[in-house]
């Protein structure tokens, strides 16, 4: 049912009536979602609501029980954990699965783009958490995917590193312009990075909020308003009062 073919009408991803059942637990029930070419969509939702399940279906790591999924053939995933092979040097972890003799050159270029030119020949265990995640990002981007799937890739990083990663991701995405689906817990992150934020509840998409250009500045009234709205989607009403609108 997962057809790796380009969807018509500029939609890179087209999901219709997607259903996934684990035992007697229905995790996805008739979920619909489109992602346009080059569009950055953030997906928020409570823990355990099925975000990773959806992402795995899009990655082709799982089969749906119902509905259709159309995705482009070139897809890459960055997981919450870096998933680097500890027994391969950094550049080989980036070049993994690439064919041809210029694999190393491509890996080195990708590592330079994420600011790790000095770590090409390092062992993964010598990297910090943020550096390892940048390698994972390089591993995904070196393949120039049409669809980039990010499953809470910054959740395990400290706040400062996360802010740097946001800037990096924005810069890299701007160059390749893949369609992106970012799963996140962090409402601020969703607003700062995405063109559109969708909220998941009860196994389907419950709401969607386009992100206006003015909202991507922290501290702008649009940012505060959207943030409050998204937190409300997650059922965090009181947090809206914390937001001070200048």
């Amino acid at each position: 049912m997962t057809a790796p073919a380009a969807a018509p009408g500029g939609a890179e991803v087209q999901i219709r009536g997607l259903t996934r059942v684990f035992g007697d637990r229905t995790v996805l029930t008739g979920l619909d979602l489109d992602i346009r070419r080059g569009e950055f969509v953030a997906l928020i939702g409570h823990s355990g609501c099925g975000k990773t399940t959806l992402l795995r279906l899009l990655a082709g790591l799982d089969r749906p029980d119902g509905g259709t999924v159309r995705v482009p053939p070139a897809r890459m995933v960055v997981f919450q954990e870096h998933r680097l092979l500890p027994w391969r040097r950094v550049w080989r972890n980036v070049a993994i699965g690439l064919r041809g003799k210029d694999a190393r050159a491509a890996a080195v270029r990708a590592l330079a783009e994420v600011g790790l030119a000095d770590h090409v020949d390092s062992w993964p265990r010598t990297l910090s958490g943020g550096e390892a995640q940048r390698v994972a990002l390089a591993r995904a981007l070196v393949r120039e995917p049409q669809l980039l799937l990010l499953d809470e890739p910054f959740a395990a990083l400290d706040a400062l590193t996360r802010i740097k990663m946001h800037a990096l991701v924005r810069r890299l995405i701007a160059r390749q312009r893949p369609a992106v689906l970012l799963v996140t817990h962090d409402v601020d992150e969703a607003i700062l990075l995405a063109d559109r934020v969708v909220a998941m509840r009860g196994g389907r998409l419950a709401a969607e909020h386009p992100v206006p250009a003015e909202a991507t500045r922290r501290g702008s009234p649009e940012f505060a308003r959207l943030r409050a709205a998204l937190l409300a989607e997650l059922g965090v009403e009181e947090a809206a009062d914390d937001v001070t609108v200048p």
Binding site: L61, M76, R83, W87, G97, R139, R143
Partner: protein, 257 residues
């Protein structure tokens, strides 16, 4: 941290013990028929080397051990990889092997004698048996313990089955396989000692048995020391391989304890 020279003392202590032994033997406290002086054992070793007896028997023992080890390792590793990679092979082979494994491999000694007599075949078989099981078990375990998240990543980047085995499965199982190798070397060595007590006509075990007939305690002590030396060499070999092949691993990296 402390002023006490632990390292120096840890080497001096056994040397002191050796000196004490030498002194006791020379002073007549230890009879030559109980424990000859270390210097006597060294002299015996020199004599036996000069007349070619020691090299001949040592070579016979090493050839025997190497043959058994190679056969056992090939079988253990080969079956282990097969069972680790293939569900069908697992259901065909694994349970039987796991059941046979409950038998201490030295307990089959009488059977081996009945099957092979006291010839070379039985000795090699015993060594192969001691080698094969730990390698098989650790190989299977190592492959099963590989992080499924890494296997998933391998799928995401589009690796085929063969590439996955080479990049993820074998390197991931390697620490466990090398642990099995260490155990296999210990068993092979133990099997060698036992095997050589059953009707050998050459080998250092034969030297010891022969020496017992003539109450040549110095030769017996020499053989015991040689067995110890082989054991230490095996251990060093296993350590060397671990350091060499697992340099990516934090606990084997240069500079770590």
């Amino acid at each position: 941290m402390s002023r006490f020279p632990h390292r120096t003392v840890s080497w001096l202590a056994p040397l002191a013990l050796l000196a004490l032994w030498e002194g006791a033997a020379r002073g007549g406290l230890l009879s030559d028929q109980v424990l000859p002086a270390p210097s006597t054992v060294v002299a015996t070793a020199a004599d036996l080397t000069a007349d070619g007896e020691l090299p001949r028997h040592l070579l016979a023992s090493l050839r025997r051990a190497a043959t058994g080890f190679a056969l056992g390792a090939a079988a253990g590793l080969g079956l282990g990889v097969l069972v680790g990679l293939s569900r069908i092979a697992e259901s065909l082979i694994d349970r039987s092997v796991q059941m046979v494994r409950a038998v201490p491999f030295l307990a089959v000694l009488p059977l081996v004698i009945v099957w092979f007599g006291v010839g070379e075949g039985g000795k090699v078989f015993l060594i192969a048996l001691g080698t094969g099981f730990p390698l098989y078990l650790n190989t299977v375990l190592g492959i099963r313990q590989i992080d499924p998240k890494l296997l998933e990543m391998s799928r995401v980047v589009g690796q085929g089955r063969l590439e996955r085995v080479r990049w993820v499965i074998l390197p991931g199982a390697l620490p466990s396989i090398l642990g099995g190798l260490r155990l296999a070397l210990t068993h092979a060595w133990l099997a060698l000692v036992i095997a050589e007590t059953i009707g050998a006509t050459e080998g250092i075990g034969f030297m010891a048995t022969n020496a017992r007939e003539f109450l040549q305690v110095d030769v017996i002590v020499l053989v015991v020391l040689l067995y110890a030396l082989i054991g230490i060499t095996c251990d060093l070999l296993a350590r060397f391989l671990e350091r060499r092949l697992l340099s990516w691993h934090a606990s084997y990296a240069p500079g770590s304890p």
